[in-house]
Subunit: 263 residues, 3 copies
């Protein structure tokens, strides 16, 4: 498959696409800063009185259910439907699916009522949604999945499925990709998976090929993390350096990408 | 005009004025840390059951509508009116005015029902409120305004108007000032404008001359940013270093101030 | 008293206990990162539809009332009672008790309806709850308390009481401890007291002796702060370095502990 990585990143930086986030409280600040660092323009807004208006004019909508409640759930659906009506691509992050009934049901409801473009979660969440495992413990990952599970999710829900972990599995139901960049220390940064979502959404805003956009988002974030780790002495300095590296990303960095395509 | 910068900063540090924030979720943490670094005491509280009580005993009230919803709007008004009744100065940050109907209407409603002391926004927001431009895209700035627009806003709404940007325009309707400190990289830190608001509010708490207090807040934040940028490799380290520099601000730093007064 | 500090920290790291936080918006991100750095697994969730389910399977529940409103108060009570039913230890942080009627009443209501294991607050909050002082100004500390006040609180409310400050006073009503680690610069980091709570809750999840668990949490956080300060130039770099140090904590660090037991 053909990836015009550098051209795509440059397009984000020059077009500054608007990424409407319905993002959990924990990661709102980091996700906004990651989105800015990659070159896009974040807006965090969740009021039912305005989400339709914003989603309609956004270049991508990112629904992250991390700190959901009944009011946010209403806004997820309103924003998602408004995005659909206006052909705005939608990324759904099913944070904690499997951890509580509310979360699993909310994700299924969104998948049912909204046309989701990319469904991105960690192993535990995605295996729950694929029916591979039952209830899980927290919001942290349960370990690795595989490409077959991504493919099953892609077909079942009509999405591009992205399963993050030590290796990331991406499938649009026909084509598949495995990304092996990143560093284990990312697990010690809360919401590192949510932040990846902001980067993928930024690429979705300028690249209609959702499998490629997902891979571009993953490698961008994870290569920045690899470079950042060399300068860091723990997870907090890693986060600071990672955002700096995203901001400083240059074309040669793409040489570090570890992508395996399966067609 | 006469600025007793160092004396004023020292008064913040010794009096530790209480700055009641109704601050958006994205920037709450940074705004609190900025307020502490400058020497004041932040409290972030938004429940309608307590905002009047807190605003009444605060030394300044900072209303930032960034992540508004119907419940927060109710609290903005309750807190603002309680501040007015107790002669507590009010700073209003009209985040995203022009981006959605809800935001523009909420700002106009607050300006109508609450006596706002300082109205501080970026070019796009302030030009929307001045009727210069129509609807805008996101919450990021639209570029530069000018002193005339600040003056018009000051007169129309009976406020001290602060338009932030590469150059900041401040007007109380009679006197004007242009501040040219800062660095472009601040645009890559989410909520840098919101954080400036915390610093201005801290000066408003100890200086009744709102034009001077606004200028003091702007130069404090922006000089710290200039010093921080020299040690930083991107926006995330810039934020860390900026807060450290605010904490370490000393009297000689004021020599870096670039202020042009217009009377 | 006998502290198996290193064994206990290792148990957190290997068991990765789930710490359910009802944490204020300001400190959610930092508290989650602190919890991860110490080796435990945080979940931040507040919806009344899921808090009982999560609290029931958590290894500790941390209720922090920092940015309370009526909906959060309902969730505090639901989560607390579910934790009680399932023998999950509960940490309560009475942020701003004494600053508004809503806060004081909410804390007393939780103490009345929920069996709280550890009650942890700063001097002002805890002296308010002990009836030593009346209304206070903000959410910042009012200075030092003493072991007698901790003991009184422990007996009155049937809790282990932890009063944080330059010296921390811990009492379970019979035994007492004074911890003198830390650095004054912590006062310039918003929510440093809230973050200590996350570390104490992590130890509560693996150590049933609540006095010891509290002391372990305090020294862990404060020794990390002491080590971090040496590398820091202000409060923002202190926060980054502190989280890194928590992640890198090793057995010899415990030699820095300054604990005085009173039996």
């Amino acid at each position: 498959m053909m990836i015009n990585y550098w051209e795509d990143l440059q397009r984000i930086r020059s077009k500054r696409p608007l990424i409407h986030h319905l993002m959990n409280y924990v990661v709102m600040n980091d996700a906004a800063n990651v989105t800015l660092a990659v070159g896009a323009s974040p807006i965090m807004a969740h009021a039912r009185e305005e989400v339709e208006e914003l989603a309609a004019k956004a270049d991508a909508l990112y629904i992250n259910i991390g700190t959901l409640d009944d009011r946010w759930i209403e806004s997820f659906l309103l924003a998602g439907k408004a995005a659909n009506k206006n052909n705005v691509p939608v990324l759904l992050d099913p944070v904690g699916a499997g951890a509580t009934r509310l979360r699993t049901e909310t994700v299924l409801r969104i998948l049912n009522e909204v046309e989701v473009s990319v469904l991105k979660g960690n192993g535990g969440e995605m295996m729950t949604l694929a029916g591979v495992v039952g209830m899980i413990k927290g919001v942290d990952s349960l370990g690795e999945a595989n490409l077959e599970i991504a493919e099953r999710l892609a077909r079942e829900y009509g999405v591009t499925a992205v399963i993050t972990g030590p290796r990331d599995y991406v499938s649009d139901g026909k084509r598949g990709a495995i990304v092996s960049n990143g560093t284990p220390m990312l697990q010690y940064i809360t919401g590192s998976g949510c932040m990846v979502g902001s980067v993928i959404a930024s690429f979705m805003a300028i690249n209609k090929d959702l499998l490629i956009a997902s891979v571009e988002g993953l490698v961008t974030f994870e290569i920045a993390a690899e470079k950042a780790e060399k300068k860091s002495s723990g997870p907090a300095s890693l986060k600071v350096n990672l955002i700096d590296e995203l901001y400083n990303m240059k074309s040669s960095d793409y040489e570090l990408a570890k992508i395996e395509f399966k067609e």
